[in-house]
Subunit: 250 residues, 2 copies
């Protein structure tokens, strides 16, 4: 402490940061040392300390170093910068909140004795199978709507819904046995029922979702096995049919 100017360690301690940080700020031009001795040592005065304290304050608010530079150098209106930053912070909090919900859901399943992802995804086509998918792709609200829809169904309606899927799978199996092509009118008619069936619950079936689902039927052995119980090759037929349907209609 030489009265009016301090060494790098002095201000670092005073401001509660490290010398490395100060050298970093010097490097990016955020806070230059007041004076650099012939020996290369950095020295800072009160003005620098005040600026440093403001920098650290804004940093603790979560602003980026470039933003801080703009604010302190008067290139940016402080209030505007803070408002923009606030918005970003709120989005971040919302995003994390969604992740927390997803993790909690997954944990509940795991602890409820159900098995993770793989094994729970295809038991009787339970509606909850797409929870993660839907949650991620169309946001939680959309999923909640779907969930309410399912919860609102009567036992009979649920059975009918599941049965219809079974019928569709059976008809696909029959079509395959008859040697029908994926783009034939007959198979496309069944595919239309498949689409309608999906639409009843999701109410938002995009092209990507539909074809992706088709691919999964072939790629994932659990799906393949379920469909191929109507004859080997049924899953492939369904996938191809869904692709054709998507290309033509979606």
């Amino acid at each position: 402490m030489t009265g009016t100017h301090w060494s790098i360690q002095d201000i670092a301690r005073t401001a509660g940061t490290t010398s490395r940080t100060l050298r970093h700020y010097g490097q990016i031009g955020l806070l230059e040392p007041t004076r650099v001795g012939a020996n290369g040592y950095r020295y800072y005065d009160e003005h620098a300390l005040v600026r440093l304290q403001r920098i650290l304050l804004l940093r603790d608010l979560g602003l980026s170093l470039p933003s801080i530079a703009e604010v302190l150098d008067g290139e940016q209106d402080s209030a505007a910068a803070l408002r923009a930053h606030l918005e970003w912070l709120e989005q971040e909090r919302a995003r994390i909140g969604r992740q927390i919900e997803s993790v909690r859901t997954t944990l509940r399943k795991l602890e409820g004795g159900e098995q993770l992802m793989a094994d729970e995804m295809f038991d009787g086509f339970d509606h909850t199978q797409y929870e993660q998918e839907v949650t991620e792709r169309w946001s939680k609200e959309a999923y909640d709507r779907g969930n309410r829809w399912w919860s609102a169904l009567s036992e009979q309606e649920r059975k009918a819904f599941v049965q219809e899927q079974a019928d569709i799978a059976r008809d696909f199996g029959a079509a395959r046995a008859a040697g029908l092509a994926a783009d034939s009118d007959e198979v496309q008619a069944i595919t239309a029922r498949q689409y309608a069936w999906l639409e009843r619950s999701s109410e938002q079936v995009s092209k990507a979702y539909f074809t992706g689902l088709g691919d999964m039927y072939v790629a994932d052995p659990r799906f393949t096995a379920n469909y191929d119980k109507h004859g080997e090759g049924t899953a492939v037929l369904i996938r191809d049919a869904m692709h054709v349907y998507a290309d033509r209609n979606l």
Copy 2:
């Protein structure tokens, strides 16, 4: 699509990611291609696709790639990993929440016509001057306690509180005029009053806070001016006295 194995772009599209990501996962050993052709091309089969989908699912939950590897390779209990991750997520959300509060407070001040940081920090020693400090260092609850304390005071009590600070500053000024040393009994007695005064409002005055405050009295011209109105050098005397006091008593 050669039936059972796909090119890098094929799975990338199917799973909704990019080829760059897949090569990255290959590089860090998270997901190796099923087969690598003589030409160096990567090929993936259904198993790889399923694994990739699980990876992406966990990634969307916010897990790190190393954590995902541990979970998928069975080295880590899934539930335990998710619980740990959940905790971390909740801390993150809390942290962001605190930042949001700080930013809002700062914005309110800015828009209320008060000026940022610098100019608002020293008008009559308004209690709110330490808001940022206190908020950051001792959490919001501590600050709220302090704020409630101040709000609970009567107008008379507030005036007395401010007056006491003025008296202390005056006495420091007199001590300096008398040529007393910072570590003299007289000056230390005044310093003790300064400490007690601070303690009344903050109720948590750490050594670092006390000495830091002393440094600020000298470093920040606004403080310096306020104290040096009792004679030049008063601020320096106070700082030194506070350091001595802190070393001896805190």
